[in-house]
């Protein structure tokens, strides 16, 4: 590919971008063996702490899922504060509009009446839940935790421009890696943090708890919040346990819950206890065997009824998936104009909807240059990266698209920005993206930064951990000088008196 590239650190072969200068000077001083030791130390600590994920379908001899580490890269991804400020405004705007859209979808469908989206686009969407029509959820918030995937690609001027690649509104994951990566960096390189004003992220669990508590049914004085996990063999189990622990709430599985007298309860050692807010990390389909998949054991029978009655809050709301579907994504800029009367601050990637005959024709004619995605795919599965695919793979996708055009969208192959990354041969540029986590409760807020994912394979654009991606610590670098030094306290510790 002869496309222009954008590297986050290096403006050219000989010059470093301003916000990386300090770091680059530090890095140049580090002997190779020190960095090598730090990498080994990081891996050892991640193993001991058990920050692992399970890969679906990957079984060891004992039949249990294999636990793998997500590779952690030592070189941080740095974003200057002024760029972040703009991105943050764009994220608040986008998530606000998406929540307005979700409320509209399940109520008056003004956006359909206005002719912006066809009714069929919504009603025939697999993620649309007719059970939620007319249901009022607390604060009209549907997506309480939103993971918005942002990439940066060179624009005409050769500068980097941020684009939203994908909205994750149902059960976005990865925030625990954002927090653990920061902890690891501070442990491995404390001196870096005295030289840089890096915006802290560790208060995320507090903010999350505040968001969840705000959703509790009005009458509850001391709401009980729980995190609902599919269990310890789920790929994101570490994160579920981590968040429950950090918030100081119970981590429950479906079998711990039951419905009685139109309330949700959990089985405890002292009898049933009422549950008011469920931060669920289980997909809609598995939440309630009476309403959705009847053979699911991951949910709680009768949950939907209690939810509809307003006696329990479910975060994110049931039916949120209709707004993060790839077939709805192209409409988000129009949603922002329609609901908020504003121009979008963050751009979408130009998208061809194969359901439109013109877009379909263009897509089929340019498969080798495009990225094609299944509307319902996730995790880097169900995706064709044209320039990196064989003729046979392209023909397979062509047949699939022709058979079901509305199941696919296509986008130009963006040259994602790169960041220097440790690889076997040393330090080399690798493609990255960014997932900030936006919390919507009483207000829309977020911690500065997000999770930076990096495609470790040379030239690869797929950053998903299930496809061999790694992570980096993400620094929002505040402008200004070093933070003040901590002055030691006055009082001295007592010591044993000897020979008295």
């Amino acid at each position: 590919m002869s496309q222009p590239m954008f590297d986050e650190m290096n403006a050219s072969a000989s010059s470093v971008r301003g916000h990386y200068e300090n770091y680059q000077r530090w890095l140049a001083r580090q002997p190779a063996h020190v960095m090598q030791n730090r990498r080994a130390e990081a891996e050892m600590i991640f193993r001991r702490v058990g920050i692992t994920f399970a890969v679906y379908g990957d079984k060891d001899e004992a039949g249990a899922g294999t636990e793998r580490l997500i590779p952690f890269d030592l070189i941080p991804r740095i974003i200057p504060a002024h760029e972040w400020a703009r991105m943050e405004r764009g994220l608040v705007q986008r998530v606000t509009a998406l929540n307005r859209f979700l409320h509209d979808v399940y109520h008056d469908q003004e956006i359909v009446k206005a002719g912006i989206i066809e009714a069929g686009q919504i009603l025939h969407n697999e993620q649309f839940r007719p059970e939620m029509v007319g249901v009022n959820v607390p604060g009209n918030v549907y997506s309480h935790i939103s993971g918005i995937d942002i990439v940066r690609a060179p624009d005409a001027k050769g500068e980097g421009e941020y684009y939203v690649l994908e909205d994750n509104l149902s059960v976005p994951s990865g925030v625990s890696y954002m927090l653990e990566d920061r902890k690891m960096m501070m442990r491995l390189f404390p001196e870096l943090f005295s030289d840089h004003r890096v915006a802290p992220v560790a208060h995320y669990p507090d903010m999350l708890l505040e968001t969840l508590l705000a959703m509790a049914p009005a009458a509850t004085a001391e709401p009980t919040v729980v995190v609902l996990t599919p269990g310890m063999y789920n790929s994101a189990y570490f994160e579920h346990a981590f968040l429950a622990q950090q918030m100081g709430v119970e981590l429950v599985e479906g079998k711990d819950l039951f419905v009685k007298d139109n309330f949700v309860h959990m089985r405890t050692t002292r009898g049933p206890k009422r549950v008011d807010v469920i931060y669920r990390r289980v997909d809609d389909d598995y939440l309630d065997p009476l309403a959705f998949k009847p053979n699911s054991t991951l949910g709680c029978a009768g949950l939907l009824g209690v939810y509809r009655a307003g006696n329990v809050a479910v975060c994110n709301a049931i039916g949120t998936g209709v707004a993060d579907d790839k077939s709805i994504y192209p409409y988000v800029p129009k949603m922002i104009e329609f609901y908020l009367g504003e121009q979008p601050i963050l751009q979408n990637v130009p998208t061809y909807m194969c359901r439109n005959p013109d877009d379909l024709a263009y897509t089929l004619a340019n498969l080798k240059d495009l990225v094609v995605k299944e509307c319902h795919g996730a995790g880097g599965y169900g995706m064709l990266v044209g320039p990196a695919s064989t003729q046979a793979e392209i023909e397979d996708f062509r047949r699939a698209i022709v058979a079901n055009p509305s199941g696919y969208i296509a986008q130009p192959t963006l040259s994602l920005s790169t960041c220097p990354t440790y690889v076997e041969s040393g330090v080399a540029p690798r493609h990255i993206d960014l997932r900030p986590f936006v919390l919507s409760g009483k207000e829309v807020q977020m911690v500065p930064g997000g999770l930076t994912r990096v495609a470790l394979k040379d030239g690869s654009l797929v950053v998903n951990s299930s496809q061999g991606g790694g992570t980096k610590d993400t620094w929002i670098l505040e402008d200004g000088v070093s933070p003040p030094a901590v002055t030691p306290g006055q009082s001295q510790q007592q010591t044993q008196t000897t020979g008295a």
Binding site: A62, M232, E253
Partner: protein
């Protein structure tokens, strides 16, 4: 606390305790096997070890009738098909910990996880074969560490008490099995007194009884408490009825009672009643009465009742069947 969480905590500490006690037994047997003794005596030791855990059928199914130290140690340490092997116990302890890692302090979880990561290394790089005693020391040390980290970092809430409950119940079971098999090995309910008292028997007895004491770290304690030569009835008394001996049956039942009282919401529950009754019987028992009535019969009944107590704890707290 969630019943499922309590269940995982209870079993996490039971498996850790079981790994420790198995290591203690294996170590004593291994040390004893280094002493000059007849093949029959040596075999009896390893055979006793298998029957303690009711694993004789499982062993012979895999290794045949040849009971040799190498095979028994392999079976009891590294065989994942044996649910009581060290590796199975430590794996189960770790999996239970992982299921409730959010309830544990970071240190408690990391201890369980690190133990699991290390045992894989120790078993794969030949450390165990090079020096079995050192390996058993390591297992004991990890168990000490697990308990110490629990006591030193956990909030003393229900989670803590369910962990302790598991430890004491498992230890009561393990100590009873140890006493039973070691006294039984001598083919009599009250060995030592009945024997011919020739020099060889006396020497053998000394090593036999001191091995039992050492397996529960009680050799020095015995000397301190009794200031006497080692007599079987006193060994039995120490391991069963002394409240101040940390691995004795009475001390374990005291631990069970104390922790049960902290988690129960119904002081008159059947679980409490059974635990209290069993504790009371030990508290007011005398060793000569027990020996007279038959030690083996007493211990078999004790094991049954500990087992039932576990089932009641499970029904009342861990896996409640009613809504």
């Amino acid at each position: 606390m969630l019943s499922r969480t309590a269940d995982h905590l209870f079993w996490m500490s039971r498996y850790t305790e079981r790994a420790e006690n198995t290591a203690r037994l294996l170590d004593v047997n291994y040390q004893t096997s280094l002493l000059p003794q007849s093949t029959a005596d040596a075999q009896a030791g390893w055979r006793g070890l298998l029957s303690i855990s009711e694993l004789m059928p499982a062993y012979t199914a895999r290794y045949g009738d040849d009971i040799n130290p190498r095979s028994v140690m392999d079976f009891m340490v590294r065989d994942e098909r044996n649910p009581s092997s060290t590796i199975s116990c430590l794996k189960n302890a770790r999996e239970n910990a992982r299921a409730v890692r959010g309830t544990l302090t970071t240190e408690v979880w990391e201890t369980a996880n690190q133990t699991w990561l290390e045992i894989i290394r120790l078993l794969n790089n030949g450390d165990f074969e090079r020096d079995p005693s050192q390996f058993f020391e390591w297992v004991k040390f990890r168990s000490h560490l697990s308990r110490g980290v629990t006591a030193g970092t956990m909030l003393q809430d229900e989670a803590f008490h369910f962990l302790r409950l598991g430890t004491f119940l498992e230890r009561a079971d393990n100590t009873a099995r140890l006493v039973d098999v070691k006294f039984h090995a001598l083919q009599s309910d009250f060995p030592g007194a009945a024997a011919g008292e020739d020099a060889e028997t006396q020497t053998y007895d000394f090593y036999h009884w001191s091995a039992i004491l050492r397996s529960v770290s009680a050799f020095e304690i015995y000397r301190k408490v009794y200031r006497d030569v080692i007599r079987p009835e006193r060994v039995a008394e120490l391991l069963m009825l002394r409240a101040d001996m940390p691995r004795s049956l009475l001390a374990c039942l005291n631990g069970v009672m104390g922790n049960l009282a902290m988690v129960t919401s119904d002081p008159a529950s059947e679980t409490q009643r059974r635990a209290g009754k069993l504790r009371g019987e030990l508290q007011f028992a005398r060793i000569d009465e027990i020996l007279e009535a038959g030690l083996h019969a007493f211990l078999i009944q004790f094991l049954d009742r500990v087992n039932e107590l576990g089932a009641h704890i499970s029904r009342e707290f861990l896996v409640p069947s009613t809504r």
